[in-house]
């Protein structure tokens, strides 16, 4: 990918982009993300991040919540995942 890196700030509020859906697939026994022309299987952490994108909490709050839930420092991983998610158009900064 030669696309410019999409930089996120911890104050940003990000949400699933329109047309993107989080869904549990019983046949695969896992959560997937469905979007135009695609589907990805989600690992546990990606799922926990995406579940917390409610359009109200900013990234800071999501990280704090995850840190507490997992008793770990998740900041770098969360930002890294969200930047990939932004670049792939799974999420957007606003309720676009």
């Amino acid at each position: 990918m030669t696309q410019t890196a999409s930089k996120l700030s911890r104050d940003d509020v990000v949400v699933l982009r329109r047309g993107v859906r989080l869904q549990f697939e019983s046949s695969q026994d896992r959560w997937v993300l469905l979007y135009p022309e695609g589907m990805v299987q989600l690992g546990d952490t990606a799922l926990e991040v995406l579940k917390r994108l409610d359009g109200i909490r900013d990234i800071n709050q999501v990280i704090r919540d995850l840190d507490q839930a997992y008793d770990a420092d998740t900041c770098a991983d969360v930002i890294e995942f969200l930047e990939i998610a932004l670049e792939r158009l799974w999420i957007t900064r606003n309720a676009r």
Partner: protein
């Protein structure tokens, strides 16, 4: 925490269903992937047969369902099919020319649960857009794009790219930006159906492809995460074949208007195969038991050079349909691969298109028995360029 999501590629897990509801279409595109010997409006499936197939495929784990054609809006039970598919949990996609998608129908489909619409566009100019499909649709398509935006859909715009419009890629990108497109697919023509018939006139030169790719690269840098641009190059210019449908019978199931099920919507072109019909067999039997779906599964069917090639696990020997159409044997290596002993077939096609592509005549998609050629297109386009 490196689990940012992996591509869904488990072994032989049905994930995608393409429902070609009808071969009927108001357009006559020169690169249509429908069979050349199509006989549309005959033997179309009933609503009930489709609904049963959707249920059975969903039970097997299919999650993506594309409604295609022809023009799927010609089916007046489309809303019924979408509603049931949506309730079953499918992510549903309408693949359309936009013709027939007025405000009322768009709202009805949205209310039925349709997840997104993939709209086709032939070119950034009205003249060429309307010419390539032999239908005056340019203004209508722009209206449909606007309509999709106003009712809250992402805009997925698909433009088939070929020798006649590839030099317009910069303008197509600009138009997509103006329409606030979310996903733009610049899909270089794959040579099946009508496109294979018109290959000399449609296959672009390597230089044209390079220029278009450069335009896309620059555009991506500027547009960032506002739009996703896919540029799918024609495999004729590659040195290795595409991993077609992720492998035969691995995750993909296509159903033709008459109910013929196959691992790819081009596979029916392969003669000597007995593709099952969904009106006669269950989806479970078709997927797990049918000889047609097992025929090119895995790697045991391969001939050399694929059989011992370390890359066979990535590309599965390429496209079975293309191997058949170009070499006459679907078990051969896809001749796009430079390791294929028949690779010259592809090189010759590229050379022939370079020599005569600008003046080659085009044959528009027609129902069986009709045919119309435009012998003047080449000269006309030359004057315009």
């Amino acid at each position: 925490m490196k689990d940012s999501g992996s591509r869904a590629t488990p072994g032989n897990q049905l994930l995608w269903v393409l429902a070609e509801l009808t071969y009927g279409c108001p357009l006559h595109c020169v690169y249509c992937s429908n069979p050349v010997a199509l006989s549309h409006h005959t033997n179309e499936l009933t609503t009930g047969v489709w609904l049963r197939a959707f249920e059975e495929a969903r039970d097997l784990g299919a999650a993506q369902l594309g409604f295609s054609g022809g023009e799927p809006l010609l089916r007046d039970d489309l809303e019924t099919l979408v509603r049931r598919a949506s309730r079953l949990g499918y992510y549903t996609n309408l693949i359309t020319s936009g013709i027939g998608l007025d405000e009322k129908r768009a709202h009805a489909l949205r209310d039925a649960g349709l997840d997104h619409v993939q709209l086709s566009l032939q070119d950034s100019t009205r003249e060429l857009n309307d010419f390539l499909a032999r239908a005056n649709t340019f203004d209508l398509k722009l209206r449909v794009a606007h309509l999709l935006r106003t009712i809250g859909y992402p805009i997925v715009l698909n433009v088939v790219i070929h020798r006649r419009n590839i030099d317009h890629v910069p303008e197509i990108l600009t138009l997509a930006e103006r329409l606030e497109v979310d996903y733009l697919e610049l899909a270089n023509t794959q040579f099946y159906g009508w496109a294979l018939l018109n290959r000399d006139a449609l296959l672009p030169s390597r230089e044209q492809v390079d220029r278009a790719e450069e335009a896309v690269r620059k555009f991506r840098e500027r547009i960032g995460d506002r739009m996703k641009v896919y540029f799918v190059a024609s495999d004729y210019h590659e040195r290795r074949p595409k991993a077609c449908t992720g492998g035969w019978g691995v995750m993909y199931l296509s159903i033709a208007p008459d109910g013929t099920a196959s691992p790819c919507n081009q596979a029916r072109a392969i003669t000597g195969m007995d593709f099952p019909k969904i009106s006669e067999r269950s989806i479970a039997w078709i997927w797990r038991e049918s000889p047609a779906f097992s025929r090119f599964r895995g790697f045991d069917w391969m001939t050399e050079p694929c059989a011992s090639c370390p890359e066979r696990f990535q590309d599965f020997g390429g496209c079975r349909c293309q191997a058949f159409l170009l070499t006459g044997d679907a078990a051969n290596t896809d001749p796009v691969c430079e390791l294929s002993p028949r690779h010259n077939l592809v090189l010759d096609a590229v050379a022939r298109a370079n020599l005569s592509g600008a003046t080659a005549s085009l044959r528009f998609r027609e129902a069986k028995g009709e045919s119309r050629r435009d012998k003047n297109l080449g000269r006309k386009r030359q004057r315009n360029s």
